[in-house]
Point group: C2
Chain length 327, copies 2
């Protein structure tokens, strides 16, 4: 539905429709009334301005964008934001972007945005234990959805969320290796305590224990160099290890470099990043477009029926394994 469709249906020029929307004072009253009626009848979306004035809603959804870290595993925002913008527009919302260095500055930004732009809702990313942002929004009854689970069982951590089942991803990766005949499969992950990292470790351990197997693991901060030294250490500790599952593509790229000539080691990463594609790394693929669309869907439903109370709806999406040369 474009402004041209509206013009045709109303029997006026595109410019007149545009004026009716943007500069109503220059349009004859009769014409204005007619055009606005056609717009209303066709449900043309630019009618948001009128709707907004009527409802006091901004039709804005705010989301924070993080610095991209080493640019490898962190760079999911491109794909997520594209889908978020596209699906939000279909529901009549636009995306308001901001940056924040930590929880506290993100909360200060919420206050700023609420004062100046009154976004209808927020999308939280990078959820973590004791997430101050979620509590702040919950206390004030502000609609939001988290991309990422609330990593807490506390009742006040209940809010709508969308997430990808990381454990299912590493479990699928490990089963792929088991099916190829590997029996000694190691894991390179992050230090315990991060919800996302613990979840990814859990899937690997579960797949092994179902076959009465266990494996060595190492925990390091994310990064290619850290992945390489952790893999070197693990491979030296058990010369029988023939495969590694990693919590991120960054760690997996390091693990690839740790391989020695004459000792083939299968490696699987997590995130299916462009870097994984470039080097032929088998990796767990997160359905980011679908996740963004699910965020918009949960928010749109909450915003259409605000009286239904804080919804605790959630969507847990299954990742898939993108198989390439490395495993």
């Amino acid at each position: 539905m474009t402004i041209t469709d509206v013009a045709k249906a109303a029997g006026v020029s595109r410019q007149t429709v545009s004026n009716a929307l943007n500069s109503p004072e220059v349009v004859r009253e009769e014409t204005l009334k007619h055009v606005l009626e056609v717009i209303e009848r066709l449900g043309y979306r630019a009618n948001q301005a009128a709707r907004q004035m009527r409802t006091g809603r901004s039709r804005l959804i705010a989301i924070g964008i993080e610095p991209d870290g080493d640019g490898i595993s962190g760079s999911w925002a491109d794909r997520f934001l594209h889908s978020l913008s596209e699906t939000a527009a279909q529901e009549g919302y636009r995306i308001l972007l901001y940056t924040a260095a930590d929880d506290d500055s993100e909360i200060a930004t919420y206050e700023d945005l609420l004062g100046a732009y009154k976004p209808d809702a927020f999308v939280l990313t990078a959820t973590h234990h004791d997430d101050l942002r979620a509590s702040w929004l919950l206390e004030r009854g502000l609609p939001f959805v988290a991309f990422g689970r609330p990593w807490s069982d506390l009742p006040d951590a209940r809010h709508p969320w969308v997430d990808v089942d990381g454990a299912a991803g590493t479990e699928a990766a490990t089963r792929h290796l088991l099916a190829a005949g590997h029996r000694r499969i190691g894991f390179i992950g992050w230090p315990p305590g991060s919800g996302v990292g613990d979840d990814r470790r859990e899937g690997w351990a579960r797949a092994l224990s179902r076959q009465d197997l266990s494996g060595l693991q190492r925990a390091v901060e994310d990064g290619i160099a850290a992945g390489e030294s952790a893999a070197l250490d693990l491979l030296a500790a058990d010369p029988g290890v023939t495969a590694l599952v990693c919590a991120s593509d960054s760690l997996a790229l390091g693990a690839l470099q740790a391989r020695e000539p004459g000792r083939p080691v299968a490696v699987i990463g997590f995130d299916d990043t462009p870097a994984a594609r470039a080097v032929g790394l088998t990796s767990v693929h997160q359905p980011l477009g679908e996740a963004a669309a699910a965020c918009v869907d949960l928010l749109a439903r909450a915003l259409e029926s605000p009286d239904a109370g804080p919804p605790s709806a959630h969507v847990l999406l299954a990742p898939t394994l993108t198989i390439r040369q490395s495993a």
Copy 2:
């Protein structure tokens, strides 16, 4: 400047300041007046809401986000958007995100946004020959800045822009190879006619002709597979070629795969993507953060002095060469 600073200066709680901004009806009239005075005096930014009502300005800058292509060379949006959001916030603006498949749908989106959100300005990306979007915005006198040059000499194509000097980037890459002793240096680029692609080819040709040299070139659509076959073809056509400069990291990743054992070929890409980092590809680095900040700077200046007429200010940034193992 945070809400806490305002609270301290006003001698009230943070909650009271927040209420004064977001729910003034629950604050005692006297307190409200006092808090708003302090906010005004300190120039606290959340005061935008009031300023916006006064000035009719939305304090929103709209930018489109493209699908990420193969996710390698296309994925600059993460870095650019982060810097754009951060620097815009410092100037008191926020970023409104949208998607559009082509020029026509982007123009329809402009109309939509102007009707519903009244953004103060637009950032155009992926400028190209005969850019309908720029003409549309220019005709209406709407403030915008392009990230990318107007690829036309027509006088009506004059508008503020920020760009990275692609020719300077490939020239630096080629000079780096010349300094290392290479004399037969090929170029893998895109079909003629794209402003960005022609510019990058130009820098390579210029560096060679300054040494009275010339080289073979191939032109293909972007992509790893296309880069590989173009490089195979070029290397077969001239067995003396020892180095390749490529118009993108995707093409360069393909060129790396085209190398045969026993014939070392130096390869340089363009964009310094995460994939380049992962495989050790030397690549031309674009200062995307600086480019985004320059866009905000040009817009903020145009918006502060709207009567200065359509400014034709522009900023051409120099890229740098990130040297890794491949060249």
